[in-house]
Symmetry: D2
Subunit: 436 residues, 4 copies
């Protein structure tokens, strides 16, 4: 059990300032919730006389580290758009301003570029009036960008501007940079609290049960599945094929299929599949069409990459260093079309790729609640001098998680677990498209 | 003025049956509304002692041609999906059944294939219970197909099945076939009323001011523009590019831009444009970015085909015989990307092509009203033995229009007219992207 | 035919200024469309050697009255909220600013109160930046109020502030005040163009075929009918009763019922009904329940006022002077409940009154288009010195209409006409609930 | 710690049948998750050498109790409508039919009335075709009713019809009846598995972290708050007052306010408040209006009942035996109006009560996922012979909970806890409206 996660959080120093936050019950610094609520696991730890791994509970502390009147805070949004970025920005500003009295808040423009002087992006001065209604718009009022920037340059800028708390809203590349910024600031002895608000529309962050925007994303994705199903029904041997987000984890595809159970096949990165053979996808699809004359397929963008790589010898990367996925949607569209052409069967395939239509919407009601509470807790964490951590949620409780831990690996769907079992039951698809 | 349209409608014969329709005010057979309500035009006709062209007003007649108890009606939906098809089907059935007592209604499956025996598509028996809720779903419960079928074969089938009224819901290809069916039936002396319910999401039907589904379509298109605008704002030099429907007429693009006035450039088939040169699209876009750092472009699929054809030597056609448009969206995306690459300016272009997400939605509230009234009037027309006509609307009044007249040419946006002027004013785009 | 409407418009003077508006085809000052497009009516006028009544066509003129650089414009919104107010404000500002170069625009706060000094409501200075996104919110950024203000006082204020064009957005009370302001300004020899943008969610404005917000309103109303239908289905003998807007005209109720044809009974002000007797509403409802076990009823707020007045001896008026309608919704709820209690039959009635949920939404896509074009044309009219008129639409063409004409009577649904006939056909309700 | 909850579940007998369910990882019968994941609490139990309370984990078991080919299942929905009822029904049928092969499923009509012969409600025969699309409609296709029925009579009917598993979907009254049915069936030695699917739109079920429909409900409630805010902004001293569901627990109000942070005051049953005095609601509202000129108030229906009872001497109950709440919304509307009238200040109060508009919508995407998984697990539980339990969720894991435990008390918002603290921070409202 030496591999168990270490959830300990870095503090800038001792909290000695009385919090101005008006609160009935403060969270005590040693409040923790266990990582694994399974009774057997707990009893096993007991037997071994070990304390089970547990996470710090987020929330307001009675004493804080920073004197609010002297705080200058900064906010930056990085990577692709995701529902809820503006909701997070809004609440960070509101909470800092009204609950702690921090009235010196900068919004860096266009991602980490905004922390690098040569881009000449002047920061926005963020006030309650400016941010009051932004949660009703998608995107980020700060703008965003992809790609790495020099850590030293950014810490120079933060130092020069006297930023003492930095909130970074971004994906795993951003979180990796965030942890480097925090470490560099520590090395320089800066009193800089660096707090991540993890943004991954794919919901693939380790030790974090839900990431903001994810729920909105799969909810909006449902519209595309509905369109695919309608198109499939509207033509003889109609096939609706939808490509959804999900580079390494199929949560969006899986949940969208559970939410709109007209889907017949869900393909996700975690579960390999074959196209050919008696139990391959193509033949299974053919059987479905023979029986029902229409079918709907949802494929996560990261699914079946092995099939694609076979046909290709180059691997490309985007500005953030992510491997450029090859287009499984177009690939499947072509393979399905070929297959039925070869069999001389007329089909009507409609391919839908809603990407930006999903990324750009504002957070839905529940994600707005989630973003608000996440951001409130990020402010609490920063005020009491936590750093190099992000705010997550576990067992429905908001927690502090060391960033390093979360970027070490990805959260994925367990092909033998509950969620995938529920999807298989809801779609009725076979457990595998692989010949024995 | 010999070129004026002739709106006279073919009747199967004299109306002698007392209508069972329960109505306060029946429409008299000679009720007409003039085509051109412009006062000067009317006075000009007066001077020439001519009657200005006018259309028959649709609506219930006191005496009808068919004995409802003996009527067997058929409905067929053809071509691509369009919002409102199910609303039209529903009201046709309800009106026939409850208002006229026609309780023998067939729905032919998968377009005109359903009228050709060798496809073995068994017709659906349509009843009020079956259709009661279908307006809440997109698509067509009958299914649809593209492509021509042999007219004689279809009329054979109609004759064999004793169909005495056929309602065809489809685009201009369908209307052309509809008129041939009507003529063939006349030639054979069949008592077959053939009534078109014109379906063109592009709203490009001549002598018809509005086609069903069009309003829903541009309303849903607005979401894509919103996404494009949000993405454009979310990145430095962000460009959102949206391709919308509109093969020959830019109504969807124009109205969507008026509905969501964040659009900066609208490109439609009726207004040619240049890419290059000081007043070309690319340079104009560059100036816009320099001033505002983001831009949203809407392009109708039929825009700029001349630019594409220059680069290509083949012209393809789809199953319905329509020339396959070349992809202006992808073309523009590539040209814009190249242009700024050449200029060494970083841009962030997001391209959105929502096609099926628009076609597959159900009719919105106003289109539901429109579909209902259209279908009610189609039933009235069929019951009184009209044939070879479609139900349209003109000056907000529902009218009978000879199908032949409507397929002779297309309704397009007048580049010197009001609508285009309103779009130019709303977007602020230059009147042309063409060097003098 | 001496009673025919006189559509002549008042001009402040001769248009001598070259319009800066950039346009391909200007509207010529004598362009008109006829009021009644019915062919018979036109021929009747011809026989009598009369010119049929016709309305000025709205749109940009080549020469205008005001020098844009000297214009100071004012905008005011009055009465209850209505979808589209912000869209109208936005386009007025954009069109004045960018198309004509008028950069001096005031927004008066809280209706006519904003023109009366003792309320101390400071006007807003309206700029493109301020109004760019407001069409996405419901309500009016200017605020509104009900109730009369002294005409002289308001004209004093306009004179003092050098306003030369005033755009009033409001209902019939507002239009009555608008015409008085225009007349008083004329009397004083002021060069003040007063243009109305008629706001009536009920769509009851005479000589205007559509008023802004109306379509959005009945579209949103559909949600309430859906709720009522669902509740009715969800219980034994379930009755869903929805009260919708419609003081004197039942357009919202009629169109909402056509849009969601689950409605069984529509009650509107134009069609009186009885509760009691074998053919009264209550017994008819009972028969419906016996047959189907659920029913949905839509009642316009102005329906059945005669039934209410019988039980009451006082008539109240609101701040705008409108007679306070008595609550037909609650009245029907109680009468229906009593009736079935007396008959000892269990029913489950759910009463829904969505009022503010409808009034406060932003304009939908089509209403946004409509508001934009309406406002563009209002600016054109003001710039060429028209006054005491409103911008309407007739036969799908935007027109100038003298305000006086429109406030003389109300547009109502003809109980013997097409629309009501369509509603009766769609709902299947009896033509009357009145015993012979 | 003798008061700790006892989560042990009743089994009908030993599971000996091999499950036909096709699954990678079955849940073992002894799998449990702890009730309280707090580390300190766990260590406290360790010290006392006690096992901390833990719940059975739901999911498919390798061996089951019933032979699927002999199972006849029944479903009943009771109480008021709630989003998701149809989703639950759909998945119950699909899971029974396709995953277990149970093809004999009855849907009892109109709640428990459907189990009582004298009501003559014939059960529906539920099949996959019938239920395939019902999740897209609100309400319950089975219909519902309120009020108690005789337990013995119902068990007689179940016995007579050979029902061996009964799924009850309903609120706390229904759960109380469900437990009595289960006990009576045990007493009679019937092999009847009785499984509850708790339906409480208020989310007030003890030991269950989320109830279906709740999230949809507060999401839809947001529209009403938006309307209230818009109306408040649109008038001078505008006040928007919204009454939301929440008889004993303010979860809907609290979450809706977090989701749409334009709310200034949230009033819930758990937090008493005063109207009068310097720190009472009325004076606080007045101060807010003086500063901002508009305000939005959300009140849960169960809030402030003490204030109402003071003015009233009778307590009424509905058919389900719930105390009829007095109308706090109308009460506040009147008190606020009076207060400002007395102070001679003009206000514009708009009161919105959206009740049925919320209850009748279909489940949103996330609630659809939740309903699906809930229903899947209910089928698993029934198949392995569990009874007198409901399926809940705890720490994001689906669990079995003895019904008795859940109906003993209500889950409420802790006025000193996190959620209420988050609401106070988001609204900025004072921590109490009570004078010291």
């Amino acid at each position: 059990m030496g591999k168990e996660p270490d959830f300990s959080i870095t503090d800038l120093g001792k909290c000695t300032v009385q919090s101005p936050y008006h609160c009935v019950t403060f969270v005590t610094p040693d409040e923790k919730i266990i990582y694994n609520p399974n009774l057997k696991d707990i009893l096993k730890h007991r037997q071994k006389k070990e304390t089970p791994p547990a996470m710090e509970v987020a929330g307001p502390r009675r004493t804080i580290y920073f004197d609010p009147s002297k705080v200058r805070a900064g906010i930056v949004t990085c990577g692709g758009l995701c529902p809820g970025m503006n909701s997070v920005i809004r609440t960070l500003v509101m909470e800092l301003w009204y609950q702690y009295g921090v009235q010196n808040i900068l919004g860096f423009r266009y991602g980490f570029e905004g922390l690098v002087p040569r881009y000449h992006h002047k920061p926005m001065i963020l006030t309650p009036d400016l941010v009051a209604n932004i949660f009703e718009q998608g995107g980020s009022i700060l703008g965003s960008s992809r790609g790495h920037q020099e850590i030293g340059e950014m810490v120079d800028a933060l130092e020069r501007m006297n930023i003492c708390m930095l909130f970074t809203i971004g994906g795993d590349g951003t979180m990796r940079a965030t942890t480097l910024i925090a470490e560099e600031a520590m090395r320089r002895g800066l009193k800089l609290s660096v707090i991540g608000l993890p943004k991954t529309i794919d919901n693939d962050l380790m030790y974090v049960e839900r990431s903001f925007g994810f729920q909105t994303a799969f909810s909006v994705a449902v519209q595309s599945i509905k369109a695919a199903h309608t198109e499939a029904l509207g033509a003889h041997n109609g096939i609706g094929l939808v490509k959804l987000m999900g580079r390494h984890s199929g949560y969006i595809a899986a949940n969208a299929a559970l939410a709109l159970p007209h889907v017949n096949f869900v393909l996700i990165p975690e579960v390999p599949f074959h196209l050919n053979g008696e139990r391959g996808l193509l033949r299974t699809l053919e059987i479905r069409l023979e029986r029902r004359r229409h079918a709907a397929i949802v494929v996560a963008e990261g699914a079946g990459q092995d099939l694609l790589i076979k046909d290709s010898d180059k691997v490309e990367r985007d500005a953030s260093g992510n491997i450029k996925l090859m287009d499984i949607g177009a690939f499947l569209r072509d393979k399905i079309t070929e297959y039925f052409k070869r069999k001389n069967k007329e089909i009507n395939l409609k391919y839908i790729d809603p990407s930006y239509l999903i990324r750009s919407v504002p957070a839905d009601a529940d994600d707005n609640v989630f973003c608000s509470v996440l951001a409130q807790n990020a402010v609490h964490a920063a005020m009491c001098g936590k750093t190099n951590m992000l705010v997550g949620r576990w067992n429905n409780i908001y927690t502090h998680v060391p960033i390093k831990l979360t970027v070490s690996q990805r959260k994925t769907i367990d092909p033998g677990g509950n969620l995938w079992g529920q999807v298989l039951a809801a779609t009725g698809q076979p457990h595998s498209f692989i010949n024995p």
